[in-house]
Symmetry: D2
Subunit: 357 residues, 4 copies
Amino acid sequence: MNSSHAAADEPIGVAVIGAGYWGPNLVRNFQNSAEFRLRWLCDLEVRRAQRVLGDYSTVQATDDLAAVLADDKVRAVAVATPAGSHLEVAMAALRAGKHVLVEKPLAASVEQGRALVAEAERRGLSLMCDHTYCYTPAVLRIRELLHGGELGELQYLDSVRINLGLVQRDIDVMWDLAPHDLSILDFILPPGVAPVSVAAHGADRIGAGRACVAYLTLHLNTGAIAHIHVNWLSPVKIRTAIIGGSKRTLVWDDLNPGQRLSIFDRGVDVASADELGDEQRRDMLVSYRSGDMVAPALTEREALRTMVEEFARSIRGGTPALTDGRAGLRVLALLEAATRSLAEGGSLIALDEESPE
Amino acid sequence: MNSSHAAADEPIGVAVIGAGYWGPNLVRNFQNSAEFRLRWLCDLEVRRAQRVLGDYSTVQATDDLAAVLADDKVRAVAVATPAGSHLEVAMAALRAGKHVLVEKPLAASVEQGRALVAEAERRGLSLMCDHTYCYTPAVLRIRELLHGGELGELQYLDSVRINLGLVQRDIDVMWDLAPHDLSILDFILPPGVAPVSVAAHGADRIGAGRACVAYLTLHLNTGAIAHIHVNWLSPVKIRTAIIGGSKRTLVWDDLNPGQRLSIFDRGVDVASADELGDEQRRDMLVSYRSGDMVAPALTEREALRTMVEEFARSIRGGTPALTDGRAGLRVLALLEAATRSLAEGGSLIALDEESPE
Amino acid sequence: MNSSHAAADEPIGVAVIGAGYWGPNLVRNFQNSAEFRLRWLCDLEVRRAQRVLGDYSTVQATDDLAAVLADDKVRAVAVATPAGSHLEVAMAALRAGKHVLVEKPLAASVEQGRALVAEAERRGLSLMCDHTYCYTPAVLRIRELLHGGELGELQYLDSVRINLGLVQRDIDVMWDLAPHDLSILDFILPPGVAPVSVAAHGADRIGAGRACVAYLTLHLNTGAIAHIHVNWLSPVKIRTAIIGGSKRTLVWDDLNPGQRLSIFDRGVDVASADELGDEQRRDMLVSYRSGDMVAPALTEREALRTMVEEFARSIRGGTPALTDGRAGLRVLALLEAATRSLAEGGSLIALDEESPE
Amino acid sequence: MNSSHAAADEPIGVAVIGAGYWGPNLVRNFQNSAEFRLRWLCDLEVRRAQRVLGDYSTVQATDDLAAVLADDKVRAVAVATPAGSHLEVAMAALRAGKHVLVEKPLAASVEQGRALVAEAERRGLSLMCDHTYCYTPAVLRIRELLHGGELGELQYLDSVRINLGLVQRDIDVMWDLAPHDLSILDFILPPGVAPVSVAAHGADRIGAGRACVAYLTLHLNTGAIAHIHVNWLSPVKIRTAIIGGSKRTLVWDDLNPGQRLSIFDRGVDVASADELGDEQRRDMLVSYRSGDMVAPALTEREALRTMVEEFARSIRGGTPALTDGRAGLRVLALLEAATRSLAEGGSLIALDEESPE
């Protein structure tokens, strides 16, 4: 019997691995959730773990991963180490029978990611990817609007995520920032809509040894286009997405707390191509809508809190999380294709016909 | 003796051809300039020309281009007809010995543009391209800052020009809007810096028969990257450019009259690659500057007014305008390459080694 | 028979008096309106009138007001001279049987304003005040929303109109800018709602001899409050009003063309005081609404164009304009009371029980 | 020997009283400071204190204030209870020999505040007021700029602090929000500059039994004016101050993290009144500066962290904190005068000649 069959009303014992940039956020949110009982914070440098916990905490700091995994009271493990070690740490946790939450990206390659997904499925364990943005009230609402048809069919998505960011030692700006946009795209696309090819351009003008500015273009199977601009060098911080639908267009400005989402009943309509002959097509009827804009009220709720609850739901229910390992794999496949395109000067890379899973 | 040798202090007789979208702006600015005397507004539909002039004007409306070109008092002609007729109208004007100002783009193709440039040079006449944005106080200042070295070397340029725009009958969004961005790029790049290849992606998701959303990526001979996003379908209007330099980064927000330019002394520095061994390169020293931001005071001056004065200066001095025919040709070469890339699914198109001129 | 009984379909002959700051806008709008035929532009300095008309106009420039008023073809006169001469010029025009449009404020004092209103009424002529902002699409919509009850009852109005402005030689910032806000307030208040007292504070810290910063507080007969901040010294330009209603609250940002009006279904409700005993009152039920925000689509239309049409409608129909002389008088009464308060250190000045008219 | 003479390098034992809205912020910041050792969180409802501490804390929760004050290891007490109980709690702490930090406002009245200041001075204990905003990097910089003369002499200060806020049960919007603005004003004014009179207007249009919208006007001894707008009913959140100086004008937008401060070298100059005769005065020379705007780089640092360090500095050094009890008293005096003005319909209330202390 694996540890996932404990009493439903008992908090789930959890350990966080990695006390770097992201770990403290997980520590805080597991502590604030009645669903979990945080038992360990583990880091290669135990002093770093201690510093994160502070002087007033009853949580144990350690640098001994094996001891954490050997703790029967730990049923779940959250991995917030650098991507290069995700395979090793997450695999060890799965093999120890723990449910696993992994910080994005799922792993350093599709191949590694596949191994994790296979292991989790074999063992009937939850493998969840911490695609945090998917759990913001804004993205949850965008998903509803696209799935529910209120925006109509997706025409284009344009995402900008730029800031003066830390130039990473091991990964380029695309692997650092684009997982956010790609996981959001994966999360909000209605069933049956998916990217079929990717092209990427980038530049390393400061001589960092890796792209610090990158542009990704994704062509979808519907003819729609998605475009992502990520940039570590921008002195201004912008986090905006425009999601053009056939009925309405949505603008998401994540840095405007008073008006994160704006839904415009404004746009261009063209008489359906099917109804028109060639001659007409040239003289097509373009009409413009210029209706109101609605900014829906959103509850303010920390995304990580919702994410942590989804992890609990997945563990207790034995069902995949909304952003499960397979979602993580799809994002990895896009990143790998984009990396190939970047190396080839922007050539269009088709995504495998077969599912990446 | 051609008509350009008239007395220096006498207003230059001018005619505007085309009373559509742009013509009225030229009419107004020629009227307000002491350098010019507007004599004719010519349009295929004379009533349209009359409507533009209104009930109180002494300027003559006509639909007879030949009569305009036969008027000895007309020394200069401004062409504001659709791009498809630029060659015909501008060539006729040049052959009649008139100096010519052409609305962007210079012509419908590089080949046509070359013919106009050759004709003007043969006849010693001014051929100027109305790259209006180049004459805004903001772009003139950006040019100064880049040429003068205050921003350092260009690292990247990211330009966004999106709005709910008129879906044009004959051209796609790239030919409609990108000439603005490409002409600005051409105008501000310091001597010796130039694009070497172009890739373009676009989508026509509304079935308009031409791209309504497009992304252009330009690689420069310095390794820098320029990227342009043009879009007819956006319910929000954005006209922003970020120009990253090795010393400072400039943000231009053309819709913020109180703060059009912001110059950030903020950025990332990397120890020069030349000074570093491979080992060091991995451990490179990245440092961050986080200095002040300065928003320089700009005079508010209509760009067309400055443009019209530059046309007068060029005519009177017999010297090329800042945005002369050759500048127009360079923009056309970029547009043609981008169009080819778009048709080929985004492949990288090298710009001819030889100058497009 | 006065000149207002001419054929309904014939353009109304009009003259503009004053070629200073505002006159040119009137000239342009009368020229663009099919309802009017502009015949004269009159200024004490005829060269100034000529400069405004430019080199291409068929309109006559003059410095001879008597000649203008003697012209039978002139049925209407628009007065755009300094406020100090409004009485003299407008009275002369009325006595010559002309309909009169006066730039705000109607006159330099309530007494002068009353004389004009009386004269116009005696002669059955239109006397209209050019309260331009009332004719913006935004203010027209606000009026509809308040009159129609969609905002509920007015709770507060807060208006900010600040900018680096010209320090006027003859009037303080209150007389320069507050007429805009006061005329808007007068225009949008539902029938029966009106100010009952005014207090004003100001400062002349730069030694200009008159207030350059001023704050007006108006108490309404409903218990609602209105507050106006006008300022000539602000380096940032702000033109915002918040209009709190019992049902919804509206924010008007006149400098945000993409979202001038925002209507928030967000606010605080308190159980009606009438239903509560004293004890309950202390434990009153406060509830918060946090619904959506709607930014209604507005047509973009120049206010002066609508204003000019309203002038024509009033002349042709023989009915008062929306912003007639009496509206101008009410604004003058508020300004005079505010001036008294300012002189008395901010004391609350009751407005005359009797209508100022 | 009172407890303030302990070893300088030992953390200062501290207790927080009050686990409501503000207490948790103090708990977090005392825990993060190496200067302090948090020993107790005390609340009338011990479960509330426990909830704030969470399941992982070693800090003791209690509802027994006497026990806390009897703890020798507690040398300092932070009071975050409702204003009505500040006198009682803070006085007990002072009498037990503890240094005291009090949440704003210092007490419920000037009289109560005076008693606390006197007690602390008699005992040589630190009494500090938690005027949090004074410790933001923005306000610290503003103080530097005003004290250092870079803005010139203060001409006007306009502060807006509006939001959809909790309608408080015991205090009006003025007592809830204006202490922020008044404490900032007190903090940044250069030596010798001080308010001399106050007027206040307000409205309780929703029937809450207390003002929900209020406007305060302060006249300073230099002729400058300060104005504060506080509002619980606004659906939009605004926290902006404009600080006009004779040399430069500063705009503080606290909700714009990328550009909190903007310093404009833009303004109006008038030739000094002293140099001019009466005649000249009418024809005075007004000149306009339109220089650059500079947005200084600010470190991002939580204000409470700096505040907590200032408390430690004051305790260890035996010197008054920047926002000591006397600063709290001055704010109380302004609030009391404003309350009187509000009750009297906005009449101008002179502040006592003698210092309120």
